[in-house]
Symmetry: C2
Amino acid sequence: MTEEGDFLERNMGPVEIAKRARLAARRLASVSSETKDLVLRKVADGIDAARDAILEANRADVLEARTTFEEISLSGSLLDRLVLDDVKLRAMAEGVRAVAALPDPSGVVLSRTLLDDGLVLEKVTCPIGVLAVIFESRPDAVTQIGSLALKSGNAAILKGGRESARSTAALLDVFAKALASFPEIPEGALSSVADRAEVDALLALDEHIDLVIPRGGYDLVRHVKAHTRIPVLGHAEGVCHVYVDRAADEAMATAIVLDSKLQYSAACNAAETLLVHRDAAARFLVPLLSRLIDAGVELRACEATRSLAPSVPLSAATEDDWRAEYGGPMLAVRIVDSLDEAVDHVNRYGSHHTEAIVTADAAAAEAFLGRVDAAGVFHNASTRFADGFRYGFGAEVGISTSRIHARGPVGLDGLVTYKYLLRGSGQIVATYSGENARPFQHRTLS
Amino acid sequence: MTEEGDFLERNMGPVEIAKRARLAARRLASVSSETKDLVLRKVADGIDAARDAILEANRADVLEARTTFEEISLSGSLLDRLVLDDVKLRAMAEGVRAVAALPDPSGVVLSRTLLDDGLVLEKVTCPIGVLAVIFESRPDAVTQIGSLALKSGNAAILKGGRESARSTAALLDVFAKALASFPEIPEGALSSVADRAEVDALLALDEHIDLVIPRGGYDLVRHVKAHTRIPVLGHAEGVCHVYVDRAADEAMATAIVLDSKLQYSAACNAAETLLVHRDAAARFLVPLLSRLIDAGVELRACEATRSLAPSVPLSAATEDDWRAEYGGPMLAVRIVDSLDEAVDHVNRYGSHHTEAIVTADAAAAEAFLGRVDAAGVFHNASTRFADGFRYGFGAEVGISTSRIHARGPVGLDGLVTYKYLLRGSGQIVATYSGENARPFQHRTLS
């Protein structure tokens, strides 16, 4: 990533960038943990040192975003995410140092088996290869994903949002300088494309790119999923439920419902629909809904709920409400006759993200945990716990609702795969085949 | 799977079959290990009991295949795979019993973390959901995949080859009867489609199908990979290499090369290209190549090889040979100047399946193992060891060259994913946020 490298990159198309990333990934896979951590600390120091330049670039981005606000319909919260300041920059540098301090997810021996004397099979984690990361206005995605990719030994191709182009470029420059000062780090380990059109080109390169990570809203993720055969790590929707069972405690149910909906209502793990067992509804539906309304939540309710709580202002829920990710202080409410009905509703309308049951009945809880088809199923806890940091992963790559590869909140583990290493002393398969076949030992080693 | 069910299935389109499979998968996920194993033993007994009917159906398939041999260009080896006899049928029933005897891959606790007092996170394996399995003429794929899918709690939709239609139907009938005698097993747990057109319809159903497993030749796998967004477990090609390093022992190198090429030359893990370090070539290339020729191997060699071994009958290798999967007794041969050149050749032309180095130099071996980008990398052992049974997995679902999800030979583990179960006692995220945030404990439990 010398200046010449930068120049080349500006003149490279997506195919050339991806091919170079593949070659870089192969070299990066055998760079030592120590070197990778030194590079990351240099990146962190670089962010501190380049503070003025980064903030200046960011001010230009923000100015343009404000000017063209209506034209590009950049919402207020996107603008909040775009704005950098001293505090955010320090946090970004600390975030990179924290990634450096994590254990290397690559090179971990997952299992070791003695196939026969002098023939040992190891299953060892290794980087996946080439990641393409597509994110919207948050410039901190650059440092987060850049550091996680490098830590795990993957090459990464980044595409930031148009509105954060200058901030992204300033941060990438910090990375480029740090990477270039270590000869072990191959050119192309971290690269970027700037054009929206180049994203669609990248998404077609399933020969060269192994995993796509979209970080952004529903539209971005849907677009990515619909336009690529490359595996996607992410989730388009978070339609999460809290089911208040017949045997739920009123105070606990109220606290969990309020937290699941309101602790951060724009989050993907916030609840969108409240399911209440008819018996629990008879006991405390009115006070529960009143608490939600007092907290500023708009409710869309089924007919049974509206009959049971005529004093509460409720508009009628339609089929669309069961599928809605409101992304704000709205909640659909439905009364169900049984745990079975709750499970069926969750499996039918949910997005397989995070689902919770509140109940004092251990058998009901285990039935719900077993039968609900989602990345996270919780008993007596808020859906908002579905998060890599809360799970203790140290860093979060994203939350996946896919059933293949990584699922749920994904830590650094989601950026490695494994390979089998077999160390022998001249063994051939003919020895273990046919009439006088020598048997395998297949003994698990520690 | 009553008679009524069979009737319905014949009138159901792929979408209805897949939707029914999704519902079945959700119920199947909580069927006990004991029940699943009882069903499998009943299937095995059913195969024994229905021997006459299965063999009669198979004879009709074989007769038609022979009659229309030229028309459908069914090769001799495909015909061999199609033919069933008493011995093969007994082996199939024993195979199903062996799957029943394996540990249940679902419900295994992968990790357990205390997030805080009374708040425990478990990562637990669970079935993936709905599998679509597309196979060619081998009728034994029905019993193998059917039993592995059921064992792991997945619903499966099978599509056999046209040439084995009657044999497949007879075996599916055995499954249907066994499944129907257990009320816990939902209808649609195992279903099938018969038409080739329906395969393409299935491949489009990424909402309802979670994993596609093609079992067959290159054309089938390429077709499947090119026509679906559903993750595919399999490999299209096996372009495997043996690299004979500078420090290789002649006898060991000769034995490993012969075994890798000839122990079963049609296998995906057979070697297609031999790379030899110049120094080793100077020591024993001529006798090594002579041994291969004596064993009936046709060689395609680089210019350097042909100069060094003018006495050996070698045709010239072209660029196509480096990419070829011969699938028979042919081998490309190339002399390289260094380990680096060998690694580069393997990473460039290989299919990331299985690669071997023969050397007495431990440092060279570790460099090769670390830098070669493949599902299996072997030192001083034949490439033919890349196999689920030889690895000790008990059963093999297939061999995957994908970097995501399962890689290399895949056992029952490849048919499960995981979910996170969080068991709390009323915890909410607000407690762990903001100024007076309570810290997490994140303590690993045994």
